[in-house]
């Protein structure tokens, strides 16, 4: 037990070791951002004219916009002329075998139960072309293709399904939506595309596949998910393993469109480099995620567990357009050391009898700051709509902060909006009770925090839930006592 604690402590409290610089041959363009750069990106990707126009519109709009300042975050100046906006790695391999990889990293993988082949891939070891993942991928592709499901990279979709892209790109998140969405629209590199045809239930979580393909999604990622009438899909983003990542700025866009009676469940576990114990380094994560319940009785669920990044700015939102549509946002956001998170959601009720639920569980430790920002807007036409919001904050220690900013706008009298918020401290008496039963302080904190977050974790698909639990525990090592 002692040993295990020591190890956990070392793995998590020591310097994060995944930020090493490597020298690989890449196909890069000059750094900095200009109209010329946007054109080059589009040309390199051999995109059709409408894509270039989309990018240029976004770029020109971005030039006129300013970085948002209203979030409860301290964001250092970002110099966009210092960023390289296009880099297609030519080769992946950096090591010959796992023996060359930092053993601490491997131990973390083990704790998380990451399969060996995936460990190799995530740590940048040369992966043999005939490994399981390749055949798994092929099997997946066949199963999906039989049902007419399209699941591919964004670039492939632009090539093979330009009609779908043209019709739906920017429908949820317009190119001019906000500063980071505009930036993403101008320069996005790649991402994922999903189309579920009418009346089709996607037979598998689109996760393992994604994880296998997640190696090079880049810092300006774009995801588009379309669920046609009467379809269902559960999509898992990200990966609980500590991925190598040398990009400091991430500005992704995720768009979901649910048509009549369609249901989309989107789950995220985010575990990017949070910076070191003293708050140096770390990823800035500025994401725009939005779903439209476009059809009647459609349903979108956002489930997320956030433990990574130095700065997180993220509000997965739903526009409930179709009558009787339903949206849910379930979130656990954990911050430790000097992490800052400003997350939440927006629920915009437009259709009649629409219903949204928000469950947000913030956990703050160390010197971190954790804010929930939520907007619930019920338009005049959205009669008989309902929202229930529950925002809980759990504090570990007294050097961290939790803030809740609920904004509620209700423009008709037949709708009901309820908001509940609690703030609690992790009880020393609870930890001691566990200690007395033979459970170490570290394990006790993990257990209590997981208990606190259980309502949300239970909404995650099984394999994600297990990993998310371990992740919460690991992310809190050494934060109390």
């Amino acid at each position: 037990m002692e040993d295990q604690n020591k190890l956990l402590h070392e793995v998590t409290q020591r310097d994060y070791r995944f930020g090493f610089v490597t020298d690989i041959a890449t196909d890069t363009i000059v750094k900095g951002l200009s109209e010329e750069v946007v054109r080059i990106i589009s040309a390199k990707k051999e995109e059709p004219e409408f894509m270039l126009e989309f990018r240029l519109k976004a770029y020109r709009r971005w030039l006129t916009m300013k970085m948002p300042e209203w979030a409860q975050l301290k964001i250092p100046e970002i110099d966009y002329q210092e960023i390289i906006f296009y880099a297609a790695p030519k080769e992946q391999a950096k090591y010959e075998s796992l023996n060359e990889v930092d053993p601490e990293l491997l131990r973390t993988f083990e704790k998380l139960g990451i399969p060996l082949e995936e460990q190799k891939m995530l740590s940048g070891v040369a992966v043999d072309a005939v490994i399981d993942s390749v055949s798994v991928k092929t099997t997946f592709k066949e199963t999906l293709a039989e049902r007419g499901i399209i699941f591919c990279s964004f670039s492939e979709a632009v090539k093979h399904h330009p009609d779908l892209i043209q019709k739906y790109l920017g429908m949820s998140v317009p190119y001019n939506d906000n500063y980071f969405a505009a930036l993403n629209s101008a320069v996005f590199s790649d991402g994922s595309f999903v189309y579920i045809p009418k009346g089709t239930r996607c037979p598998m979580e689109l996760s393992t596949y994604f994880r296998i393909n997640a190696k090079n999604t880049g810092q300006f990622e774009r995801t588009l998910i379309i669920a046609d009438d009467d379809s269902y899909v559960s999509y898992l983003e990200g990966c609980t393993a500590p991925m190598r990542d040398e990009n400091q700025l991430h500005a992704a866009v995720v768009e979901i469109i649910a048509l009549d009676r369609a249901e989309v469940k989107y789950s995220t576990v985010q575990n990017w480099y949070p910076g070191d114990k003293n708050g140096k380094g770390g990823i800035f994560n500025f994401v725009t995620k939005r779903g439209i319940c476009k059809g009647v009785s459609s349903k979108i669920l956002w489930n997320q567990v956030e433990t990574g990044s130095a700065i997180t700015w993220k509000y997965p939102s739903c526009i409930l357009m179709g009558d009787n549509s339903v949206a849910e946002f379930n979130s656990v956001a954990l911050t430790n050391n000097f992490q800052q998170a400003d997350t939440g959601t927006k629920m915009i009720h437009i259709g009649k009898n629409t219903k949204s639920t928000i469950v947000s569980k913030g956990i703050s430790a160390g010197h971190s700051s954790n804010s929930y920002r939520g907007l619930v807007r019920v338009s005049p036409k959205a009669e008989n709509s309902r929202n229930y919001s529950q925002c809980d904050s759990l504090l570990l220690g007294d050097t961290c902060g939790a803030h809740t900013f609920p904004y509620i706008e209700v423009a008709n009298s037949s709708s009901v909006v309820e908001h509940e918020a609690t703030t609690s401290k992790i009880g020393e008496d609870q930890i001691f009770y566990c200690n007395q039963r033979g459970i170490s302080t570290e394990d006790a904190i993990g257990m209590i925090v997981n208990g606190y977050a259980r309502e949300v974790i239970n909404k995650l698909p099984m394999e994600f839930a297990v990993e998310a639990q371990k992740l919460l525990q690991i992310s809190l090592e050494g934060s109390v006592g």
Binding site: N435, I439, S440, D443, G451, Y452, R454
Partner: protein, 250 residues
Amino acid sequence: MLVIKDLYAKVEGKDILKGINLTVNAGEIHAIMGPNGSGKSTLANVLVGNTNFEVTHGSVTFNGKDLLAMSADVRAKEGLFLSFQYPVEIPGVSMVNFLKTAVNEHRKYRDQPPLSAGDFLKLMREKKAMVQIDSQLTNRSVNEGFSGGEKKKNEIFQMAMLEPTLAILDETDSGLDIDALRIVSNGVNLLKTPNNATILVTHYQRLLDYIVPDFIHVLYEGRIVKSAGKELALELEEKGYDWIKKELGE
């Protein structure tokens, strides 16, 4: 098994224990009685390693080892158990998950492999029967929404699961109804072996009718001021603590 020598402890800067001496051998049952606020729970907490209480003087050995040098979880794994006077609730943490973790941590400490899910559930069933605790309780979060008596019963259930060598029961009888008192006492008696020992903290003779102690100690203002056989409880029940205070010249 347990040897306490001249133990002093304070909480929030206030001296509570002022020179406790007590020896407990395997196979024995000791009862500690004493007026409210005399330091009974403090002694229990100090023994199990609650860091809110600061030991300022004295020593405690447990099975020959220096108990005060160990962290609370190690003390538990060395075989020390406290049935809390006020058990806390841990929302969202299921009894099953909690106990499985606890049992397996104990096993790991003894270099035993973790129990399989099947074996664990079997063990739970067996012990549930022993203390006659309802599955409706053990299927919930730890103590969450349990009544006062249910919490006490749950403490004894956990004791049955962990099979400690020294169990300290801090007013486990308070809050139990007449039937529950009998059931819980019965459970404690069933768990008794010549190799383990029990310290009962109680205010009432009633419990001692069921669990018969070998020794009774009176704790008063942080000291054990009187030790005797089980007949002392009857005397206390009859006369209260005043005569002891008088004996002490107060």
